[in-house]
């Protein structure tokens, strides 16, 4: 689908950045650690030039994506199981509800203790956190498939596997996609938190490092980069979703705008 560029929306962002620059330059806001956008931009260019930025960026993005892929694969399977097996629901829904409401940040120190300060720790916690939105949305999407489609599958005598693959999963695809989008955001956040408190690598650690070294401009540079990564990943998944599930654009709403 073609999307017109949202000029008024971009204008607001530009005006806000200009305003930020103005209030810092004119000392209306005079904190030592609020750097003006011009300095932050310079610092982003410096960090990019010496390669530090791209190393950290690559580490964080690859960890977040690996965790997300694991979560999507596992989440769809668990969602299918919970949607179609009453026994699985009876025995596990209480655990699922309990586990998914545990604040995942509390598990970061646990993972660090078990797997040490490594990318593996980050992936495990991020995948764990990203799993739940996929499980819940897959299950919900499958269970709300119009019963008429199940009648159709039965009268055409499709096998259970064929029914899931050809009817139920495509019908639930928009909901699964919403879950996948939420999961990607969660995966990125948890990855960065894990880097801040545990594994000394990636954007999260770099941000803390610059903060503790009292380099506000570099710290802000990482804050901006992390923000851009979040927006870019969201755009990417909404775009992929539009390609894979043409009807999903409406249901995903303005997610990418």
């Amino acid at each position: 689908m073609t999307r017109r560029i949202n000029l008024p929306g971009i204008a607001v962002v530009v005006i806000l950045i200009a305003l930020w620059q103005l209030v810092v330059d004119t000392k209306v806001i005079d904190f030592n650690y609020v750097s003006p956008p011009s300095q932050i931009a310079d610092r982003i260019v410096d960090l990019a030039r010496d390669g530090e930025l791209s190393d950290n960026l690559w580490h964080t993005v690859s960890v977040a994506l690996q965790a997300w892929v694991i979560a999507v694969g596992l989440g769809v399977i668990v969602g299918l199981l919970l949607a179609y097996s009453a026994a699985a629901r009876t025995f596990t829904m209480a655990s699922v509800d309990a586990l998914r409401t545990v604040p995942v940040v509390a598990l970061v120190p646990v993972a660090l203790l078990v797997w040490g300060p490594s990318a593996k720790s980050e992936i495990v916690v991020a995948a764990y956190a990203a799993l739940w939105p996929i499980v819940i949305n897959t299950m919900g999407g499958l269970r709300s498939v119009n019963p008429r489609l199940h009648d159709v599958a039965r009268t055409l005598r499709l096998s259970r596997v064929a029914t899931a693959r050809k009817i139920a999963l495509p019908a639930a695809a928009p909901e699964i996609l919403v879950g996948a989008r939420l999961a990607l955001g969660t995966s990125l956040v948890v990855t960065i938190v894990a880097e801040m408190v545990g594994n000394p690598a990636g954007l999260g650690y770099a941000l803390i490092e610059q903060q503790q070294a009292l380099n506000p401009a570099a710290m802000w540079a990482y804050v901006i980069v992390i923000g851009i990564v979040g927006v870019a990943l969201n755009y990417a998944i909404v775009g992929i979703g539009r390609l894979l599930v043409p009807g999903s654009a409406r249901r995903l709403g303005d997610a990418g705008a």
Binding site: L149, T155, L156, R157, K166
Partner: protein, 273 residues
Amino acid sequence: MSETATTRPAPGPPEQRPGGAVFKLDRVHVSLPTQAGDREILHDISFEVAAGEIVAIVGRSGTGKTTLLRILGGLLPPSDGSVLLRGRPLTGPSELVAMVFQDYAQALLPWRSVGSNVALGLEGRLAKEQRRERVAEALEMVGLDQRAADHPWRLSGGMQQRVQIARALALRPEVLLMDEPFGALDAMTKASLQDQLLDVHARTGATIVLITHDLEEAIYLADRVFVIAGSPGELQAPVTTALPRPRDQLTTRELPEYLQLRHSLVTALATTR
């Protein structure tokens, strides 16, 4: 339309089909669980459907018409009594039977093209080449051979219902079960689809059981019309239409016999609840 029908090559012509009873229902009862305990939906239903016959079942809403069709389709087991299909007890959806639902928009897969919707029941059962032939043949029968690549939502309601009929025909079923197939369509579309159905019937010799709340449609299409009435629903003695075929929207509906049937069935329905 029906005049040319007999000259075309017919897939599974009537004379190749075994005769005799297709369905035989004996003292079928259906009760479904509700919050207030079991509720009887159908009471003591016994009837037979002969091969190649068109049977219409009419009745007010809430008399269990759809439940009866689901029994015939193997989607719902009866609580009591026996259902035989070609002499064998029906235990689930049969390969001899295809079903067409009223809500075509819900029954078609919006992410599949028209052709691939029609192919759905053939996948994994026929080789690709045969599948393509069957789909083309089915779409040709409902006059949609030019729209195979379109998605259902690009078609009108009447065309979407024809896609669903084509999907059923692609299976080359012996029996076509239709639940108020033209109920959601406007009068003109309805009339042309009725004629198309009669054309399909003449070409394939399929047995058709259809449910409708439109009495005139029932008389126009069917060989026999059953009235189902009451709650739980009970089947009244059938009315044999015996109108000449091929039928015509104008002349058939002007026959004195047609008007007579209409009169007696309207009266019969009016006295039921």
